[in-house]
Symmetry: C2
């Protein structure tokens, strides 16, 4: 690949965590959403993430996941060397996960640039995505922390936003980051999108591994030191890991660095979605006819005067009659019936299932 | 039992047929609704029918059912002699089914009185029901065809009605039947119920076996003769049965006899229901809490901001979130999601399932 020469020191880090509780009972703690094919493409979200990144990084890709999921991850990414799947002994939030990978990469190549991309996002135009990452890597080589700012498809209140600052001279599209802002209310979201100055924060970060860890060391020196110690002496993982600070990468590094003028953003318009709930899943899937979207074998779904979403992996016939905007999720041991309007509340059902004495179903 | 002396020649005939298509996928052609426990009582509708009749008739009870269901019927009515389950070689409507039983009973006891009661009705007050049957049997001994007229619980358009004629002297509550009337429209149903002169026709008939067959012989002499031939020579069942006229008992006997002034009615107020669809089933079941009725293990049904009915026999957990008046029927190979308002249209779904290449599910 011609790009390999310029991107020869680019690594991808894929944190694969999070249960996807609002996608219960499809997604479970023991089988989280990144292990599922949610687009009907035949590839799971994790596999699609690998497919998208491999043209950029080859096998310079590290997946950081829970110990419980490492075998499933290795099984799904057959071509990845086994030691490129890093198992966290316990969840310690995104900074520890990405930071551990950064420290491992830094030891491998002190000049290396890494890009961190979640395992459970959906991207429509993979080549446009890679073009953004290439520019972000070029910017990152100047020593900045770089994020990718997603062109907002709607005034969503489900994501944080990135306020664009001045254009960065010498790069095709990059800007400085004026500020990261939290998830807005509906009115503020409308203002953000109308202004044209805001992008969705999808949690994608590109930086030299050493820059990321040095930025971390400013605010959380113990955490940065702990991660570098593990990378130097992998046998000490179990000993050091439980004492590491639990913090998200946004709070640990991105926000303080933005305040210090050290963060850039490359705007991206490549059809990004975080399938956070069944309403988002329904939006994403193609219409199977008769107004009902189906994830699974559409030939076994019969609908009449109905609309919504059926997710089925049981081999059963599913018949809908006179139900509008319904969500039916049909799995072997649990069935959910709700509506797209209640998609965000599925979390509460999972809590109820847990308290009902069936934590095994969650 | 003190009643045995006066009712010693009373027989019960239980036609057990009809797939209960509007209760799909709970009720199937191969497992029709009378074989199911629809009240959550622990007894199937057929068993409850037997329980209700045994105090009146002991084992003078004949069940007439399809050949495909005879083993299931015998399995559910363990105390009934095997030859009291009569298998129809093919469905030939209610007159042939009840008439065959009548002919068999007539040979056993020429003075016998029979009462015919469907296998899939629900009756709340069994003793009040039996009291009606006792009076009906007394009236039947005078040579009349007697029906039981159900006190209407509401102006239903789903049932035919019986127009009461004059009181019959010498009996506690019996009337002549002025007329049987077909299922009315909503306005007419309201008028019927408001007048106090109409009762629901539940298809219950009580008569001497010989009176029933003689009435039949007036309008359909070949049918009456054929049934009596089979009773005389049971080996000829397969030969004669296919040539018998297919007709409902109402048209074959009850309506002509009423026109001739030969039918009486005993009014009954014992909480009768024909569970014709899931809306009727939902009405019948006790509230399990949280607004959702459950047929099955209510401990595995979780609901939040929901109402309606869950029928489940799979052992799966069923979670409802924000769905009103929903009907969820969860079986091993088919799942139905609809609403109580669409309960009558379930038949159309069954047709669609059949045409979809899965007649095995219907």
């Amino acid at each position: 690949m011609t790009e390999t020469s310029s991107l020869g020191n680019l690594w991808a880090v894929v944190p694969a965590g999070g249960a996807g509780t609002r996608l219960w009972p499809l997604s479970r703690a023991r089988s989280p959403k990144f292990l599922h094919d949610l687009s009907g493409s035949g590839r799971t979200l994790l596999q699609a993430t690998g497919d998208r990144l491999t043209p950029l990084v080859g096998d310079r890709l590290l997946v950081v996941t829970g110990a419980a999921h490492q075998d499933a991850v290795r099984g799904q990414l057959e071509d990845l060397p086994d030691d490129h799947v890093v198992a966290e002994p316990s969840p310690r939030d995104s900074m520890a996960a990405i930071g551990l990978a950064a420290a491992m990469i830094e030891r491998e190549d002190p000049e290396a640039v890494l890009g961190s991309f979640a395992a459970d996002h959906v991207i429509a135009d993979a080549e446009a995505f890679r073009e953004c990452v290439r520019e972000a890597a070029d910017v990152a080589r100047t020593g900045l922390l770089v994020t990718i700012g997603i062109e907002p498809a709607r005034p969503s209140t489900a994501f944080g936003y990135i306020h664009l600052g001045d254009r960065l001279p010498g790069f095709p599209t990059a800007h400085a980051v004026a500020e990261f802002v939290e998830k807005p209310d509906a009115e503020r979201a409308r203002q953000y999108v109308a202004s044209g100055e805001y992008r969705w924060n999808a949690g994608m970060f590109v930086a030299r591994a050493s820059v990321l860890l040095d930025l971390l060391a400013v605010e959380h020196p113990d955490l940065a030191a702990g991660l570098r110690e593990i990378a130097a002496e992998p046998d000490r993982l179990e000993e050091i890991w439980p004492g590491l600070t639990k913090i998200a990468i946004d709070h640990a590094v991105a926000e303080p660095a933005a305040a210090a003028g050290k963060v850039a953003v490359v705007p991206g318009g490549f059809g990004w979605e975080d399938i956070g709930d069944f309403a988002a899943l329904a939006d994403l899937l193609p219409d199977a006819g008769a107004g009902v979207k189906v994830l699974g074998d559409a030939g076994r779904v019969l609908s009449r005067d109905s609309s919504g979403l059926v997710v089925t992996d049981t081999g059963r016939t599913v018949a809908l009659l006179g139900v509008e905007d319904v969500v039916v999720v049909d799995t072997g041991d649990a069935l959910l019936v709700t509506t797209t309007a209640h998609a965000q509340d599925v979390k509460a059902v999972v809590e109820a299932v847990k308290s009902s004495g069936r934590p095994d179903l969650t």
